[in-house]
């Protein structure tokens, strides 16, 4: 558990954080300039703390009352910055091994999981954005940190690249027991990875709680909410060239029809993404609708925000919930409530397919990641 209770002045306002973080991954969110990066810097020891206490489990990193300020090199906190921050004068291998005490199983494992083994002799300048981030991750993991700090690691990447990295982050979360503090603007990323969200505003904790619950928080902008997608793992089942449709079999036997993607071989693993606002909700069985994908579901919950509503639906109890974004007017007109029986409809054109590797065998992808 990470216990934060400190204050330190920033340029425009003081950073005053009081929070206990228990989840394996905590997303730190908030508008630009709210102090998110400064929070990470304070925990890493790159920014001095004026007064207060920072502790990870039993290890006290900072306790100004006791005069204790552990220097950064002793904190064992891994840091992955926005632009990867790779050392340009070192090869990938040298970067990864920089803080490690020689090559070890741990380092090898990180290289394998992040699939950067083939990049060893190359220099950072020749890597793509996604490769750089994976190397940066491996470098941080190689030091066996007890906490990982990630500062908007996907912000500099384009959408398709982000889709490919999130599964690696999921792997890191699941393979290592290391807690993560993940700064992001993107609600979808937070939903995909985090067990808890810390919302910052002007240097203070505005709200703290489960990601989905925070969707209803007035503090969250419409723009932030726009990025939510439903992410599902599946396999190419068949192609129908004349019909212009490719069928993807999802976990639990669900089949999704997507626009023809004949270049993807049958049987290849894919991730399917459906934006929450592309999910239509009907209270009666759908007939005569062009949508190729119609599923019966039960409403599990409705989160309301100013002028916005998110409806969580379960198609099968054991499968991840789908999120549909509706206007409050629609929710009212349809008389939706928890337990309502609904039919969800999605056009095949609204479904995006990417060839990201699955998070881990047997585990379905969570709701999340996206961004427009």
């Amino acid at each position: 558990m990470i216990r934060l209770d400190f204050e330190t002045p920033l340029a425009r306002f003081p950073l005053r954080i009081e929070a206990d973080l228990r989840a394996p991954v905590t997303a730190v969110m908030g508008p630009s300039g709210a102090g998110k990066t400064s929070l990470l810097d304070a925990i890493a020891g790159l920014r001095s703390v004026a007064s207060g206490r920072i502790a990870i489990d039993d290890d006290v990193l900072v306790d100004t009352a006791a005069g204790r300020r552990l220097p950064p090199q002793h904190r064992r906190v891994g840091y992955v910055p926005q632009d990867a921050g790779l050392f340009p004068h070192l090869t990938v291998r040298e970067n990864v091994l920089f803080g490690a005490r020689g090559a070890s199983n741990e380092v090898g494992h990180a290289i394998d999981v992040l699939e950067i083994g083939s990049l060893g002799a190359r220099y950072p300048a020749s890597l793509s954005g996604g490769e750089k981030q994976r190397v940066a991750l491996a470098r941080a993991l190689a030091t066996r940190p007890r906490l990982l700090l990630l500062d908007e690691p996907l912000a500099a990447l384009d959408v398709s690249l982000r889709d490919r990295i999130v599964p690696y982050l999921l792997r890191v979360r699941d393979e290592w027991a290391t807690p993560m503090l993940y700064v992001t603007h993107n609600v979808g990323e937070a939903l995909a990875l985090a067990g808890e969200v810390l919302l910052l505003e002007s240097g203070r904790v505005e709200a703290q709680g489960a990601p989905l619950a925070l969707l209803a928080t007035p503090g969250l902008s419409r723009e932030a909410r726009a990025g939510i997608e439903n992410l599902l793992a599946g396999e190419i089942e068949s192609h129908d060239a004349e019909g212009g449709v490719t069928r993807v079999r999802l976990a639990g036997g669900l089949v999704v029809s997507v626009s023809i993607a004949a270049e993807r071989p049958v049987g290849s693993a894919v991730t399917v993404a459906i934006r929450a606002e592309d999910v239509l909700v009907a209270t009666e069985p759908v007939r005569g609708l062009s949508a190729r994908n119609v599923y019966e579901a039960v409403v599990r919950g409705i989160e309301r925000g100013p002028g916005d509503a998110a409806v969580r639906c379960a198609i099968r109890p054991e499968l991840p919930e789908w999120l549909a974004r509706l206007t409050p007017a629609a929710v009212a007109d349809l008389g939706l409530a928890t337990g309502s029986r609904v039919w969800l409809a999605v056009k095949s054109h609204s479904v995006r397919v990417t060839s990201a590797p699955p998070a881990r065998a047997g585990r379905g992808a969570d709701v999340g990641t996206g961004g427009s």
């Binding site: 790159l46 950064p72 891994g78 840091y79 910055p81 050392f87 920089f98 803080g99 941080a140």
Partner: protein, 225 residues
Amino acid sequence: MPTREEWAVVLFTLRVAALGTAMILPFGVAAAALLARRHGPGRTLLDTLFSLPLVLPPTAVGVVLLDAFARVSPLGRALAAAGIQIAFDWKGVVIATSVMSFPLLVRSALTAFEEVDPRLVGLARTLGCGPMQAFFRVTLPLAWRGVLAGTVLAFARALGEFGATVMLAGNIPGRTQTLALAIFHEAQLGHDDRARVLAGVTAVLAFAALWSAEIVGRARARRTA
């Protein structure tokens, strides 16, 4: 064309400039590293002190050096006891030229260190480096071209030093006479043609030194772009 004695003067000048520059290299780098870490009034004071020889008249620096190394001074006494001669000796030339070119090295190195992304240094810290380690593993390797350019600049300055040198080391032909001093001497004697030849050689050397500094600096700019 220079005579054999004049070539000897050229060689002597190159040697003392090289020796002096090599001597101040570790100190200059350390001074720049120290300055790069500090901010505020402490740094301004140090920065000003290190830059003084750049702005002071070389003869003023010469007077200070003479006093510092005079037989009657504590330093002078210690050196005399050890049998080391500084004034009117080639060692005096090395010291005078080093002191005058020191600020150029410090300033160039400082700029180079400050150009290194501080976030990279911070990351090195989180990866287990103490401040010194981070300096040697990240800052210095990334700044070496700037340091090199500063070194060449300091060397060029040392080649042309006159005021402080003539005061501390005197103008002894064959012993302490550098190119700059030789030019003055020849002019004093009315040998203007020799003075011009020597001035020409000095110009060629200075040109070559500055050209190299420029090339090294240019390569650095390209690399970080």
